[in-house]
Symmetry: C2
DNA sequence: CGAATTTTATACAGATCGGTACAATTATTC
DNA sequence: GAATAATTGTACCGATCTGTATAAAATTCG
């Protein structure tokens, strides 16, 4: 037994920790992080509350561990893997994201995206907020890889747009639109077909014109 | 004095009610509805808590009143009005939405969109959730009017896509992307230019193919 | 077996939440 | 000025929250 025996967690301590994390995963995925109490996690996991605080010193650490697990299971194990089996080319895989979303939204247990929920309800500069933003960035990077693999111009720009369509589809679905993924895929298909006729230079010019226009017309600060 | 004298609120009661609502507006706009307590609203408004409960029997009613006021001020007084002054044609106005968003996101007090926050954190079938979804639908209808005014095909489809880009831009900005509105406008411009070459029939065909594809490849239910 | 580690139950601290009881005070209105 | 309506302060209820103190019980392992 070397000093690295904890890399493969088979001990009692690791099992207990996993039970806590599994309960937190189910609860945090279904409900708001702020609405799930530590006592609920303790009860659901069958692990005493004291033990829970022995493993995670504060609830925040449990949330951070949840974010890692969610990214591993959802982003990698579900989104990336699912897209790979549904599309042969990077282009097809970009569009297949919305097929996966459609099934996700139709799931009876769909309660929106935990990442977006946490982005909404956590304080702007907090560790949880930063960690969640990083998980979202990981998803956008994935879209960027596909765009680059498809040989598209300005792949980062397309990834940003794709990300917004994904986020918007999730929010619309959460707001009750059952066809959000279908509508998003339609728009995504149109956007993708047109993106080829877009050069990186065009993007820069457009950005500049936006900035000039915004500054020129500004009159007064409205109510936000 | 007729029995309709309360349509123009000048009485003491109406003034008090407005003070409460103004405090709630500022607080609910800046922070989460669940994190703002009734005591805080009472303190900020300078109105006793008992009086607050005389006007609004429960906090939920105050939230519902806030949603109406927010829609009146933000959707109508800021978004619709701002877009009108910045664009002469419906097409220009559609794109001008993202210019407004850019200024919004740059505002120091930007804390995301209250509508989206409430959609995230309220229960799916609750009155607050439904009312908020209706306010979002109002915004989408506005985009649909512009699309129809621009003579675009499938204006409702474009409105849905536009709404998702708007929602996604807000979420991305909240997650830290300062250029979210610029990236959204780039994508929106590309999408808009390509939307002309899209017929309503194409949309129906694409939707059907999505449904077939999703059902055919389905293997197992993943972790949501 | 015996010792170290881990988990357990209970009870509680301190804070915040939405909502209410009560009695007194203030302002309006005829 | 008197009757009515509206607002006030304070204290409280019961429930919830994160986190802890304590000491016993269960498990692992040399």
């Amino acid at each position: 037994m070397s000093d690295l025996d904890d890399v493969i967690p088979t001990g009692r301590r690791a099992v207990t920790r996993q039970k806590i994390l599994e309960a937190a995963y189910a609860l945090f995925t279904a409900q708001s992080v702020n609405l799930v109490g530590v006592d609920t996690i303790s009860a659901r996991s069958g692990v005493a509350k004291m033990t829970l605080y022995h493993h995670f010193q504060a609830k925040e650490n449990l949330v951070l561990a949840y974010l890692d697990l969610r990214a591993k299971r959802w982003t990698v194990g579900w989104l990336k893997a699912g897209v790979k089996t549904r599309g042969a080319t990077p282009r097809a895989r970009l569009l297949a994201i919305f097929d996966l979303f459609h099934e996700w939204f139709e799931d009876e247990g769909f309660e929106g995206c935990p990442f977006l929920r946490i982005i909404c309800e956590s304080e702007a500069g907090s560790p949880v907020h930063k960690a969640t933003a990083a998980k979202l960035g990981q998803i956008e990077s994935f879209a960027g890889q596909l765009a680059r693999g498809a040989g598209l111009p300005d792949p980062n720009g397309l990834a940003a747009a794709w990300m917004m369509l994904m986020e918007g589809a999730i929010m619309s679905a959460r707001a009750g639109r059952k066809d959000a993924a279908l509508k998003a895929k339609e728009a995504a298909a149109v956007l993708l077909a047109a993106w080829d006729r877009k050069s990186a230079k065009t993007a820069a010019v457009k950005t500049a014109s936006i900035k000039r226009g915004a500054k020129a017309v500004r009159k007064r600060k409205p109510s936000r």
